[in-house]
Symmetry: C2
Subunit: 137 residues, 2 copies
């Protein structure tokens, strides 16, 4: 399941994607439109900025805007930024690999191979869902 943070991030990105190009949206407007607690949204937008998905402008008439186009931002990207691995166990993850502490011999693990299959399927589906594809629905 997605965390609230990831859900809010997606909603904020969807909001930004629906604005005119070059339009700068302030946090307050995004928060109201997408029904997100404002201070929480600030954190999320900062994270999105660090991930180079949005840019910001400070001061009066400042705010946030998309840095990439909607079809360059996939669900997989946002999931990884906020919720981390897409695989069901760290040992089956591409970007967040970690050994299981209870695993004596990974090569003998019956679980891992199946979980990597799931990961590939899920990842493929998640890469197909982009901010643009969601807006054009």
């Amino acid at each position: 399941m997605l965390s609230q943070k990831t859900k809010y991030a997606l909603k904020a990105l969807l909001y930004l994607a629906q604005q005119d190009v070059n339009h700068i949206s302030k946090t307050t407007d995004i928060a109201e439109a997408a029904n997100i607690p404002k201070k929480f949204l600030e954190q999320i937008l900062l994270d999105l900025k660090r991930g180079h998905f949005v840019g910001s402008k400070q001061g009066k008439y400042g705010g946030y805007y998309l840095l990439k186009s909607g079809n360059e931002i996939t669900l997989a990207d946002i999931h990884r930024l906020f919720d981390g691995a897409i695989a069901l166990l760290p040992c089956a993850s591409l970007n967040f690999y970690e050994r299981c502490s209870d695993c004596t011999d990974e090569s003998e693990c019956l679980l891992r191979h199946g979980l990597m299959t799931i990961r590939d399927e899920t990842l493929k589906a998640m890469k197909d869902i982009t901010i643009a594809s969601l807006v054009n629905k």
Copy 2:
């Protein structure tokens, strides 16, 4: 990501699936073989019993055994029993549907449709992974 509980449950089921038919395994043996804390495993096996995946025999020489054959137990089943919904948000879930509190009009939600697509893909993959398919690898 899977919880430890789900991972342990899968490992326990894999262990049981590898025993001779009619063999009854005691918790201690499963715990040692699969490297699972025994008291924690007891809880998990009880949950699996309530889910009708395993049966038990009490008393001396008692223990646990598979109630269904390995190809009748899917990853989706076990995920739902321990970790709940397979969908990324409750509003996109088949078995654990719940409205989002921050959603004003579900039919207008741009996110939901895409998440249901992911759910269908993931679910299909998770139903294909069975205890039997994992053992025969």
